[in-house]
């Protein structure tokens, strides 16, 4: 008893990130990626408004959970099957602003699809980031299959699949989760619950508060986490990834968050949500929130913040210039890669 109490006390003195085994350097990298993603995202909106990009779909507001999730995985070994909001996630895994801006501007050399697909349809063979499509939720059974292959070959790779709460209404989610549960597959289901599927509020998508409550029906745990709290997200993701890696099966992680911008550059969110609601959520923006923690912990001072900001700006500026200059794909590319070249 006495011992336990002592231990608790020692732990209590430790900062949250220390109990999670994260160093100050780790935190800075996480923070920098969140900032980079935000700056890049803002640039993309600008390029879209300037008419240089046909379409943009944004991850703004989702950065904390995305970077936390990416950080909890093992790059080079694990698999990511992300969805269109996951820019911060793929950035953390090694996709570059240049690559992402090539994609935004539909330029040749864009690694996900050679500009066949819209931007934000991530994919990167070398980084084990699986090619995504537009039809919502289709990636979920595929991720389960990827995890099954790892299990069959007795490799300890974990697969992370991300999707919005809207995607959980689809049969794809159900059939995938069910199978993963049966075979205790090394997969983590990450639901980025931002309350809306385009304009449809959660209350019209499901009769429950927490998507995580569906997990018991598939025989594995479901966890709810504040998606705007990067360390909380890292903590639950770590546990989920460890479980998966140890062969204990899947976890459904539901990260509650909000997109602080319209669904996409084609959307006008004023038709379906109040400005007050949006403003309320902007106050919970994960980036300032994490910055406050870093400052409090003495990890980031004003100088450090300036450095990160200017590093991000520089990267994005250079990438913009690069991507704007890059050529569009040759029209003949439209006719390739239908089948393996003989």
């Amino acid at each position: 008893m006495a011992k336990a109490a002592t231990k608790e006390k020692t732990e209590a003195k430790k900062a949250k990130h220390e109990t999670l085994g994260l160093t100050a350097e780790d935190l800075k990298q996480i923070y920098a990626t969140m900032v980079l993603s935000r700056v890049l995202d803002e640039r993309m909106w600008v390029l879209q408004r300037q008419g240089k990009a046909a379409f943009h779909i944004s991850g703004m507001g989702h950065e904390a959970l995305q970077v936390a999730a990416a950080r909890a995985m093992e790059k080079g070994k694990d698999f990511l099957h992300p969805y269109y909001r996951d820019m911060a996630m793929v950035l953390f895994w090694g996709m570059t602003p240049k690559e992402l801006l090539l994609s935004l501007l539909a330029k040749a050399g864009e690694p996900a699809s050679g500009a066949h697909q819209m931007p934000a349809h991530y994919g990167h063979r070398k980084l084990n980031i699986v090619s995504g499509s537009s039809p919502v939720a289709t990636q979920i059974p595929q991720a389960v299959g990827i995890a099954l292959a790892s299990k069959i070959r007795k490799e300890d790779a974990v697969t992370l699949v991300a999707f919005g709460e809207g995607a959980t209404s689809k049969g794809d989610f159900h059939e995938a989760a069910n199978f993963a549960g049966i075979h205790k597959l090394p997969v983590v289901f990450l639901c980025e619950n931002n309350l809306y599927a385009i304009s449809v509020h959660q209350s019209k998508q499901m009769a429950i508060e927490d998507v995580a409550d569906r997990a018991p029906g598939y025989g594995f745990p479901g966890v709810v986490v504040d998606g705007n709290d990067v360390l909380a997200c890292y903590e639950v993701m770590r546990i989920a990834v460890d479980r998966a890696r140890k062969g204990e099966g899947p976890t459904l992680v539901e990260a509650k968050t909000y997109r602080i911008v319209p669904h996409s550059s084609d959307d006008d969110d004023r038709t379906y949500r109040s400005r007050e609601e949006v403003e309320e959520w902007k106050k919970r923006d994960p980036i300032p929130r994490f910055r406050a923690y870093l400052q409090e912990q003495g990890i980031l001072d004003a100088q450090g913040e300036r450095e990160i900001r200017s590093w991000a700006a520089k990267q994005v500026d250079e990438a913009t210039e690069f991507a704007e200059k890059a050529p569009l794909p040759d029209p003949s590319e439209a006719f390739k890669n239908v089948y393996a070249e003989e």
């Binding site: 046909a54 379409f55 330029k107 066949h116 995607a167 689809k170 304009s199 038709t271 006719f335």
Partner: protein, 327 residues
């Protein structure tokens, strides 16, 4: 008569039918407050209430399955699929269930309902927001499949679809929404399902087409007219059932046929149309039946250079017409 766009015509048809027929119910993603991502159902939730304009979860199988249930129990549902590309999860409910309900129950249970979906490329939609899907459904007995090209036809056919005793697939080309304008009468009218229309008279050859390609073909016809080639244009409007009579009459008159569609060539509608002609109007033919279609690649690529390479357009059509005329 007023000039209206295709999308206005569709909006009017829905609003008028919702007012006329209280059994009508709309279901789809974002069709409520948001009024649909293309604003086709704008304002209807306020006018008709949440019970008749239902924002569904993101679940196309469910949308169609539930709509079938509504139809079985006396309602007249119209389901919106946000983009035709996303209709595939509902394929089983459409093909195995909706299309066969009458047949499988020996006429005792029926599915009078409409599924609407915006389709087609040329709008920067990329691989998954550009697909033409009509050929899949034109192979399904029990369905009717409508693909209007003009505001007049869009309104008249949608009204017919909503009043039909059988399930109707209604595909509207996104690019025609605001691009194509035309006269739409104020007074009530319908356009019958299953009737093609000669949209341009001509004598040298017939172009058979529908949807956006109708307009590109009309432009191409104007272009080649300058070279003295007289093109007749048949707008199919309904692709199941096909209006053989109008097709064969035109072929009988011109003896040469070019079929134009945006959908992939292989296995597309053009095959069926060509087969009908090769079987039933063989003796009238003076030249090979030609097809100008979307190429056999999975879908319309996003990048403008590749999209351009994919899409048939007035220039490509004019070129094909010239080639056929010269045969």
């Amino acid at each position: 008569m007023a000039e209206k766009t295709v999308i206005q015509a569709i909006k009017e048809a829905i609003a008028e039918e919702m007012a006329r027929e209280e059994r009508m119910v709309l279901l789809g993603e974002d069709i409520g407050k948001r009024g649909g991502v293309f604003r086709v159902t704008e304002g209807l939730i306020d006018k008709c209430g949440e019970e008749r304009v239902i924002d569904t979860p993101l679940a196309e199988l469910g949308i169609v399955g539930i709509a079938i249930g509504l139809a079985l129990n006396g309602m007249r549902p119209m389901a919106e699929i946000q983009f035709a590309d996303f209709i595939h999860p509902a394929f089983d409910q459409i093909v195995s269930e909706m299309a066969r309900m009458r047949y499988r129950s020996n006429g005792t249970w029926t599915c009078p309902m409409v599924i609407r979906a915006p389709y087609g490329g040329g709008i920067g939609g990329g691989l998954y927001h550009s697909q033409s899907v009509e050929a899949f459904f034109a192979h399904v007995p029990g369905l009717k499949v409508v693909v209007p090209g003009t505001p007049y036809d869009a309104k008249g056919l949608l009204k017919s679809a909503m009043r039909d005793e059988d399930p109707v697939m209604y595909f509207e080309h996104k690019k025609t929404y605001r691009l194509v304008k035309g006269e739409v009468p104020e007074e009530e009218y319908t356009v019958p399902i299953g009737e093609a229309e000669v949209k341009r008279e001509g004598t040298d050859l017939t172009v058979i087409t529908y949807g956006l390609m109708l307009h590109y073909s009309l432009q191409a016809a104007e272009e080649v007219a300058k070279d003295g080639i007289s093109v007749e244009i048949v707008d199919l409007r309904t692709v199941l059932p096909l209006d053989k009579k109008t097709i064969l009459e035109s072929v009988g008159k011109t003896s040469k046929v070019l079929i134009v569609h945006e959908d992939n060539k292989t296995g597309g509608l053009g095959g069926e149309v060509a087969a009908i002609i090769a079987e039933e109007a063989f003796d009238s033919l003076d030249a090979p039946i030609m097809r100008l279609c979307g190429p056999d690649v999975p879908a319309v690529p996003f990048s403008p250079t590749m999209q351009e390479a994919f899409m048939p357009n007035p220039e490509k059509i004019a070129e094909a017409i010239r080639k056929l005329a010269a045969y």
